[in-house]
């Protein structure tokens, strides 16, 4: 008898927890992106990160402009400007291939922003900076090599 009552109480409690969790979900801001993609951010290679984001089938494109210094004397702050000339670009993703966790971030430009972004990143050692843009459900990529000098003497 007591056991049954306890089970029922437990069930009621569980329903309450589920309901409040759903409520919390509804209260969070509406985002075009899925939630922060932990799998992609924790991937240790660019290809694994691209797979986690579902963009591993990106094809090479010359319509993506990546402006970054060829030689960065300070790897802690490397400015990168990205402009996508792919028509209908909705998102821009950035990977620094030789970093311990290559995926640096994604920028959603589908809601009124121009397909352009400027950011400053840490680059641990000389590495290609790979950019993947999404347009019309397809993915396109381009890369630019950035050399990082450790001594800061330009050599």
């Amino acid at each position: 008898m007591h056991d049954t009552r306890r089970t029922v109480l437990k069930a009621i409690w569980a329903i309450g927890v589920l309901a409040s969790a759903a409520g919390a979900g509804l209260l969070s801001p509406v985002r075009a992106f899925a939630a922060w993609n932990k799998g992609a951010f924790e991937a240790k290679s660019t290809i694994d990160a691209m797979k986690a984001l579902g963009v591993a089938n990106a094809e090479d494109s010359k319509a993506i402009e990546i402006r970054a210094p060829e030689i960065a004397e300070n790897g802690a702050v490397v400015p990168i400007d990205i402009t996508s000339n792919v028509p209908g670009t909705t998102a821009i993703a950035v990977f620094i291939e030789k970093n311990p966790f290559p995926y640096a971030g994604s920028f959603d430009v589908s809601q009124g922003a121009v397909p352009y972004v400027h950011l400053r990143v840490k680059i641990g050692e000389s590495s290609p900076v790979r950019v993947v843009v999404t347009a019309g459900g397809k993915h396109y990529m381009s890369a630019k090599e950035v050399k990082v000098t450790i001594g800061g003497c330009g050599g």
């Binding site: 985002r31 075009a32 992106f33 009124g112 922003a113 400053r120 990143v121």
Partner: protein, 107 residues
Amino acid sequence: MTEPMKIRVTLQGDVADVRVLMAHPMETGQRKDAAGKIVPLHFIQTISAQLNGKTVFNADVSQAVSRNPVFAFKVKGAKTGDKVVITWTDNKGEKRTDETVVRAAGS
């Protein structure tokens, strides 16, 4: 507590050029402090921007973004006096929202 963001928005035609500087350590979880202890991961994860209450730009970023992050982006369909609101959240659940208005070019 966190420092306010510095946000500057200038208009080029009907495109708002938004530049934002955020005060944040962006710890990678790999750096050691003076006592040789690893400084735990602490970094901004999401950024969103609204123009007159409508979300126009979202970003998800990693600890690879430099300390005191700077971002720039451009939003179409803006005019002088429009309100721009930017919010970031980090991996510890800290959050900061700041706002400014669109200024005419050259002012």
